[in-house]
C-alpha cells in the first residue's frame, strides 16, 4: 500500500496569522494528585502548521497534560487555550477546534468502522448526511474503504490507529493531539502514521502536538518540548535544543538534560 494521502479538507485551512494566536497555549500549568505533583509550572505553545514533539519518559506527565487539555481533569492552576479560547471558560469553542488521539484505544470494537465515525460526528453535532460523506471520504483516504462495514475488532493495530486519526479529523480540527500513537505498532505502520500526520501539518496547516518517548520520531525541523518529572526542561526547535544541550543528537541531549536533574523524591 502506498503511504496514505492527507486526510483533511484543504478548504478548511484557517486564515490566521500564525504568529498572532498559538494553536495551543499552555501557560504555567501545575497539577497534583493529592501530594504527588504531576506537572510543575508547565508553559509552552504549539503553533499552527507546526509539528511539536512532547518528549518524555513514561510518567513524565504527558498523559496528565493531555487529560488537562482535553478537559478530562479540571485545571488546578495555570491556563490552557486553543486558538485563544480558554479551555475552562469556553470549553465548547476550544474543544471544537481540537482533535485527539488518546494513548489507549478508544474505539467501539463491536461497531463497524463507519459506525464509529458516525458516532464521533454526532458528538460534534455534524448532521448524519454530512457525516456519512466525510466518513466515506476519510476511509477512502486511509485506504480502509473496503473495510467500512467490518467490525473494528478485526482490524490490525496500525489500521485502528489510522482509523482513530481519521476520526479525530472528522470535525476538521485545527489542532491535533496524539498521545504516543505509535506504541505497539510495527515499523511499517509507525512510518505510515508519522508520514500521514506530517502531511497534515504541511498540507493542511494543522498544528500537531505529538507526545512520545521515541527519539527517532522527531525531526530536526520539529519543535521540541522536553518534559521530565512534570517539568519542562527545554523547548524550542529541536536543532537548537540539541545545540544548547551541547549534544550531537536528540538522544544525547535528552540524557544530558534529564541526567542533570537528580530525582527530588517521587520517581519517574
Amino acid at each position: 500500500m502506498t503511504s496514505p494521502a492527507p486526510i483533511s479538507d484543504p478548504r478548511e485551512v484557517p486564515r490566521l496569522d500564525p504568529a498572532a494566536v498559538p494553536a495551543l497555549s499552555i501557560d504555567g500549568v501545575s497539577h497534583a494528585y493529592g501530594p504527588r505533583r504531576a506537572l510543575i509550572d508547565v508553559s509552552f505553545n504549539v503553533q499552527p502548521a507546526s509539528f511539536t514533539a512532547l518528549l518524555g519518559l513514561n510518567g513524565a506527565g504527558k498523559s496528565t497534560l493531555f487529560s488537562l487539555i482535553t478537559r478530562l481533569f479540571g485545571i488546578q492552576s495555570g491556563g490552557v487555550s486553543i486558538f485563544g479560547h480558554d479551555i475552562s471558560k469556553s470549553p465548547g469553542e476550544a474543544l471544537r477546534l481540537l482533535g485527539v488521539v488518546f494513548q489507549p484505544r478508544t474505539l467501539d470494537l463491536d461497531l463497524s468502522l463507519t459506525q464509529n465515525l458516525l458516532y464521533h460526528a454526532a458528538l460534534h453535532g455534524i448532521s448524519r448526511r454530512e457525516a456519512a460523506t466525510r466518513s466515506a471520504e476519510l476511509l477512502n483516504r486511509i485506504g480502509l474503504s473496503d473495510r467500512a462495514g467490518s467490525k473494528v475488532r478485526d482490524l490490525s493495530g496500525g489500521q485502528m490507529r489510522r482509523l482513530e486519526i481519521a476520526r479525530a479529523l472528522l470535525h476538521r480540527p485545527r489542532l491535533l493531539l496524539l498521545d504516543e500513537p505509535t506504541v505497539g505498532l510495527d515499523v511499517k505502520a509507525r512510518a505510515d502514521i508519522i508520514s500521514q500526520v506530517r502531511q497534515l501539518v504541511t498540507e493542511q496547516g494543522i498544528g500537531v502536538l505529538w507526545a512520545t518517548h521515541l527519539f527517532d520520531e522527531i525531526m530536526p525541523s520539529d519543535d521540541l518540548v522536553v518534559l521530565h518529572q512534570g517539568k519542562v526542561l527545554a523547548q524550542g526547535p529541536m536543532s537548537r535544543v540539541v545545540t544548547e544541550a551541547g549534544a550531537q543528537d536528540v538522544n544525547t541531549a535528552f540524557m544530558r538534560l534529564t541526567g542533570a536533574q537528580t530525582m527530588p523524591g517521587g520517581g519517574a
Binding site: 497555549s25 498523559s63 478530562l72 479540571g74 485545571i75 489507549p104 461497531l111 458528538l123 453535532g125
Partner: protein
C-alpha cells in the same frame, strides 16, 4: 505567555447540533445493546424467573386485597409485574453506569467527554439512551407477561410510557451518580449488593406496603422513604391509566437531585480530577 483572542467569535451550538448529538448517543447505545445479546437475554430472564417461579410459588402464601389501582382481586403475578418492570430498569440503570466505569477504565469515556457540547448535556443524553434501552427491555417483558395472563388495559401500555421514562431516568441517574464515586470495576459488585438488593426488597415491588406495616412499622417507613417504592407505584398506577401524584412528585424530585448530583460529580474540576489519570500512566 498569555494567548491573544482570535477573530473567531464563539458561535455556540444550534438546536440541530444538540439533537444530532442526542440521536447519535442513543443510536450508539442501542447498537451496543443489540450486540450484547446475552445482556438482553439476562435482562429478560431475571424478571421472568421472578414471575414464573417466585410469583407462582408465592401465589398461595400472599393474598392481595383490593387496593388501588386494582379494582378487583388480582393474582400475585399481576401485583408484582410493575415491580419487576421497575427492577428491569433498576438493573439497567446500574448496568449502564457499570459500563460507564468500564468505559472510563478503558478510555471510551474520553471519546464522549471531548465532545465540545456541554458536559451536562452529554451525560443527560447518556441517561436518555440508557432509559431507551430499558424501555425495550420492559416492553419485551410486558409482551411475554401478556402470555402469562398479565393483561393490563390496552391503553395502559401507552400510559405507562411516561412513567417508565421518568423512572428510567431516576434509576439511571442514580447509577451514574454511584458510578462517579467508583474507582474501579471490581468495587461495583459491592455496590450492586448494597444498592440493588436493599432497594428492591425494601419496596412495594414484592408486597403491598400495608402488609409490611403489619409486620414491622419501621420497615414500612423505610419502604415509604425508598425512591424505588415510588418508581414502582408510579409505574403500577400508570399501567392502569392512573396517576399516583405522591409517587410522581417523589420520582421527579429524586430524578432532579440524582441528575444534578451526577453532573456535578462528572464536572472535570471536581469528581474525576481527584482520581488521578484514568487508564494511562501517571
Amino acid at each position: 505567555m498569555s494567548s491573544i483572542t482570535t477573530r473567531d467569535t464563539p458561535r455556540g451550538f444550534s438546536f440541530a447540533e444538540y439533537m444530532t448529538c442526542l440521536a447519535g448517543i442513543v443510536w450508539r447505545e442501542g447498537l451496543r445493546f443489540l450486540h450484547q445479546r446475552e445482556r438482553f437475554v439476562s435482562a429478560l430472564v431475571r424478571p421472568l424467573v421472578w414471575l414464573f417461579i417466585f410469583a407462582a410459588g408465592f401465589r398461595q402464601v400472599l393474598g392481595i386485597s383490593i387496593i388501588p389501582p386494582y379494582e378487583t382481586y388480582i393474582l400475585y403475578e399481576v401485583y408484582i409485574a410493575p415491580g419487576l418492570m421497575a427492577m428491569i430498569q433498576l438493573f439497567n440503570g446500574m448496568q449502564s453506569s457499570l459500563s460507564m466505569v468500564y468505559d472510563r477504565e478503558m478510555g471510551n469515556m474520553r471519546t464522549l467527554l471531548v465532545s465540545p457540547l456541554p458536559r451536562g448535556f452529554l451525560l443527560f443524553c447518556k441517561l436518555l439512551a440508557g432509559t431507551a434501552v430499558s424501555l425495550l427491555q420492559v416492553y419485551a417483558f410486558l409482551l411475554i407477561a401478556w402470555f402469562w395472563d398479565i393483561t393490563p388495559p390496552s391503553q395502559g401500555y401507552l400510559t405507562v410510557l411516561p412513567a417508565l421514562i421518568l423512572s428510567g431516568l431516576m434509576l439511571g441517574s442514580l447509577g451514574m451518580l454511584i458510578s462517579s464515586g467508583i474507582k474501579q470495576l471490581e468495587n461495583f459488585a459491592g455496590v450492586m449488593n448494597f444498592v440493588i438488593f436493599p432497594m428492591f426488597f425494601a419496596s412495594s415491588a414484592l408486597y403491598p406496603l400495608w402488609r409490611v406495616q403489619e409486620g414491622s412499622p419501621y420497615l414500612y417507613y423505610l419502604c415509604e422513604a425508598n425512591p424505588f417504592t415510588h418508581a414502582v407505584e408510579l409505574i403500577r398506577f400508570a399501567l392502569y391509566g392512573q396517576i399516583n401524584w405522591i409517587s410522581l412528585a417523589v420520582v421527579a424530585s429524586c430524578t432532579i437531585v440524582f441528575m444534578i448530583g451526577a453532573i456535578w460529580a462528572y464536572d472535570p474540576s471536581r469528581g474525576l480530577a481527584r482520581r488521578g489519570p484514568a487508564g494511562g500512566e501517571g
